[in-house]
């Protein structure tokens, strides 16, 4: 029998073509590896393109007192000490070089008077630290990386979805995937694989994430035996659009507050005075999101259930120059001129701090040959991510993952792929065509989003989380009976069937972890356990697949070296 799939072979296969995946690809290629990049969308459309505010890097171009130590301290404190301290250290130390490198590859940033890269203020950062270009930093970054990667010789497999990692005696051997365009199968053989698939936001109803963010990379890793850590920490960005309904959840960049935007409630009160009088609007995202949510719950919200965010006290030309895409977004989608009046904003599911557990130096997971970087990996951000630390994360750990993946490939023999695994992956993927089931993937997805939105949102309780687990079990059995119409030719209903499986896995991981963590820390707020618990400061939740299903264990945090403890305790450097 001839195989009904094509086969490609690479030393390093990268799944995901956002900032982390592309930076990993460039590095692996520089190490002499042959590199393939697989992505679900067209190249250049990954979520990095939407990043607005900037890249956090202690370059000290604007505030000369800034240093990696302060950046490290801000990141750890923002993450409520749950961060992997080694990752936080590497990130703070290496991000300035990663930004300079980007500039040398052709990225253009806004400048200071003296011609250096300009840096802006952002929530939780002591100094002006975010390198930016207006509010379209992510676009500049992804174009620079994609053009660099393509020119250096990466092979890109666009609109191609990986549905299963292939393993050979516990180590990575490749991936099974399908072309979205025609539904045909493709098998990748690889010595190393880097997961750089981003987040999980599409499991919530109000989200800034696009259809791609279904946790599929995390699900792939989990099914291959890797561990998912800190999954209870889901970031709700304080400012998403709330009106009109079709745009609900679309991101309003934190740069609005960075540039001086003020939050007010219906009565015109600047309510952040109550919640964080010192940092006000530039408090950390977890605090601002909870503050807005609380104002709305107490009946002090705006007409459409949000808060007012106002930047109109700044000169109109300045607003248009520093926040051009926000200006257009509100003008075109909401009929609001932000140079003249306030925006209505409310929390939106934005980012997951948790993800695949990796080694700080190499980004390798517990599965040999499997690496992860960017949002798909856990560790750097702890219980809450600071704005701007995501783009720098992609660069620092994308590079480290690519480097380690190439080195691992050099040391490894070619693994063999197991036909039984491929056949099983094929069968599973085609099941919705032959099922006698009647469930629509769209309907199951809508119901999943309601469950996560209502029961696993900003504020959580034991009762809600248990209810969510019961609901997720029902959704899982419905998802086993999906039925799709049409052919394998570019069929979004069929595509969603697989994405749904991944979303259900990560949703369950989030809920299990959230239920176990009986405290409130960073982005995880339990109404029934409103304070920080020192016992939980010392451990992570880790989710792993076992024969009976999903299981959770607790992993003690490694003690921090004395030198870092001192940096953390200091008030300045």
């Amino acid at each position: 029998m001839t195989a009904n799939y094509e086969t490609r072979e690479h030393d390093v296969l990268i799944i995901g073509a956002g900032g982390a995946g592309l930076r990993a690809a460039i590095e692996a290629l520089a190490q002499g590896a042959s590199v393939g990049v697989v992505c679900k969308s067209l190249l250049g459309k990954a979520h990095t393109v939407m990043a607005e505010g900037g890249i956090a890097a202690a370059m000290a171009n604007v505030d000369a007192a800034d240093s990696w130590k302060t950046h490290f301290r801000d990141t750890m404190r923002g993450g409520k000490l749950l961060n992997n301290w080694r990752m936080a250290q590497l990130h703070a130390q290496e991000s300035p070089d990663r930004v300079r490198e980007l500039e040398q590859w052709g990225a253009l940033f806004d400048r200071t008077e003296s011609g250096d890269i300009l840096q802006r203020a952002f929530g939780g950062h002591t100094f002006k630290r975010l390198c930016h270009v207006g509010d379209r930093t992510g676009l500049e970054m992804i174009r620079t990386l994609q053009d660099r990667g393509v020119q250096q010789g990466i092979d890109v497999y666009m609109e191609c979805t990986s549905t299963r990692l292939l393993t050979d005696n516990g180590r990575v051997a490749g991936a099974f995937a399908y072309w979205r365009e025609n539904g045909r199968f493709i098998v990748f053989k690889a010595k190393s694989i880097v997961i750089a698939t981003g987040g999980i936001g599409k499991a919530w109803r109000v989200t800034s994430n696009s259809w791609e963010y279904t946790g599929d990379g995390m699900a792939l890793a989990y099914e291959a035996g890797a561990e998912l850590m800190d999954m209870e920490f889901v970031q709700f960005h304080p400012t998403g659009m709330v009106w009109p309904p079709g745009v609900q959840g679309i991101l309003v960049t934190e740069a609005v507050r960075g540039e001086g935007g003020i939050l007010r409630n219906k009565a015109g009160e600047r309510f952040m005075e109550k919640y964080d009088p010192k940092r006000m609007e530039l408090s950390t995202r977890d605090v601002v999101a909870r503050s807005i949510y609380t104002e709305v719950k107490k009946g002090r919200g705006t007409e459409h259930g949000g808060a007012y965010l106002d930047i109109s006290h700044k000169p109109a030309e300045y607003v248009k120059k520093k926040l051009p895409s926000m200006y257009h977004q509100f003008k075109e989608l909401a009929d609001v001129d932000i140079t003249k009046g306030p925006m209505e904003v409310g929390p939106t599911c934005h980012y997951v701090m948790g993800g695949i557990r990796v080694d700080a130096e190499t980004a390798q997971s517990t599965v040999p040959g499997l690496f992860a970087a960017g949002e798909a990996a856990a560790g750097l951000h702890g219980a809450n991510r600071l704005g701007g630390n995501s783009l720098s994360d992609l660069l620092v750990f994308g590079r480290r993952a690519g480097l380690a993946a190439a080195q691992h490939a050099k040391r490894s023999s070619t693994p063999s792929v197991d036909n039984a695994q491929i056949e099983q992956a094929e069968k599973e993927l085609l099941a919705p065509f032959s099922n006698s089931g009647t469930e629509s993937p769209y309907a199951v997805h809508r119901d999943l989003q309601e469950v996560m939105q209502n029961l696993v949102g900003i504020f959580r309780t034991d009762e809600d989380l248990k209810k969510a687990l019961a609901e997720l079990a029902k959704l899982k059995s419905r998802a086993a009976k999906l039925s799709v119409e049409g052919s394998r030719l570019f069929n979004p209903g069929w595509h969603l069937s697989y994405d749904l499986k991944a979303m259900l896995i990560v949703s369950e991981a989030v809920t299990h972890s959230a239920l176990a963590r009986t405290e409130s820390r960073g982005a995880h707020s339990r109404i029934d356990h409103p304070s920080v618990d020192p016992v939980w400061e010392k451990k992570h939740n880790v989710i792993i697949r076992e024969s009976g299903g999903m299981s959770r264990r607790e992993l003690p945090i490694e003690p921090m070296p004395e030198e870092l403890k001192q940096i953390l305790a200091a008030e300045s450097d």
């Binding site: 969308s41 067209l42 190249l43 250049g44 459309k45 979520h47 393109v49 939407m50 500039e103 040398q104 590859w105 052709g106 253009l108 806004d110 400048r111 011609g115 250096d116 300009l118 270009v133 207006g134 379209r136 676009l139 174009r143 053009d147 393509v150 020119q151 890109v156 666009m158 365009e181 696009s210 259809w211 791609e212 009106w243 009109p244 309904p245 079709g246 745009v247 679309i250 051009p324 895409s325 257009h328 977004q329 075109e332 989608l333 909401a334 009929d335 629509s440 993937p441 769209y442 309907a443 809508r446 799709v484 119409e485 052919s487 030719l489 570019f490 069929n491 979004p492 209903g493 069929w494």
Partner: protein, 243 residues
């Protein structure tokens, strides 16, 4: 709730026809929302490309009532609702299915363009004025609507000879980068076919990022090509130097 009719192309590379769908219209709804409604309730296999749904990624291009648009930025209340709203795939690219077309040609063209190359011994100091000047070209989101309307591609299908407005914008962004040291004039003339453009400005009209493609990118690039290859003084100079 108000209702509207969407008349959407359904078909593949060989054949197809439009199909009418009735959708409820919510306040502020955009055409992409309506297409999602159709997917979720009426035609689960309707093929549509999209990502950010905020006008930042350039994935959801289509022809709405005959005009090339991003469907995520096209408000339903801006369109007459007493008649069907037609949504067709971009015409200049081969159809794959429904509203999804094969845009891979663009990625092949992009590979021909040499990337940024800093001048020797450059100091990394740049003035904000210089950044502002090239910003316009660098905000392109690659929606390919300009490629879709350009008559050199749409009517004459000169894809082998002509790179199209998107890539003139890209070259302009590189050529006008304050620290770039490469000249791409020869490439523009010989491989990217800049001469085919007769500045009808159709590209500028459809650009969702409001880039003045013709005036600010294409015309200055044409001038560069003229300066480098057709200027009599330069020509004479070259002859004398034997280059």
């Amino acid at each position: 709730m108000k209702q509207a009719t969407l008349r959407v192309f359904r078909g593949d590379s060989n054949s197809g026809q439009t199909v009418d769908y009735r959708v409820p219209v919510a306040p502020g709804m955009v055409v992409l929302d309506a297409l999602h409604y159709i997917q979720g309730h009426l035609a689960p296999d309707l093929a549509v490309r999209w990502n950010c749904k905020a006008g930042k990624c350039g994935s959801c291009s289509a022809e709405v009532n005959g005009r090339p648009r991003l469907t995520c930025k096209t408000r339903m209340d801006d369109l007459p609702q007493d008649q069907p709203i037609t949504v067709l795939p971009m015409k200049s690219f081969p159809r794959i299915k429904d509203l999804v077309t094969d845009v891979s040609w663009n990625y092949r063209v992009n590979r021909k363009i040499p990337p940024f190359q800093p001048r020797e011994g450059v100091e990394w100091k740049i003035s904000q004025l210089d950044v502002d000047r090239v910003q316009e070209f660098r905000k392109c989101i690659e929606c390919f609507l300009c490629q879709n309307v350009c008559h050199v591609l749409r009517e004459h299908d000169k894809k082998e000879q002509f790179a199209g407005p998107r890539f003139f914008v890209r070259v302009a962004g590189l050529e006008m980068h304050p620290l770039d040291g490469l000249s791409r004039a020869g490439l523009l003339k010989d491989q990217l076919g800049l001469g085919y453009c007769n500045i009808t400005k159709c590209c500028t009209e459809v650009c969702p990022e409001e880039i003045h493609i013709t005036d600010n990118a294409i015309i200055p690039l044409k001038e560069r090509v003229v300066d480098e290859f057709y200027d009599p003084l330069t020509k004479l100079f070259r002859k004398m130097r034997g280059v």
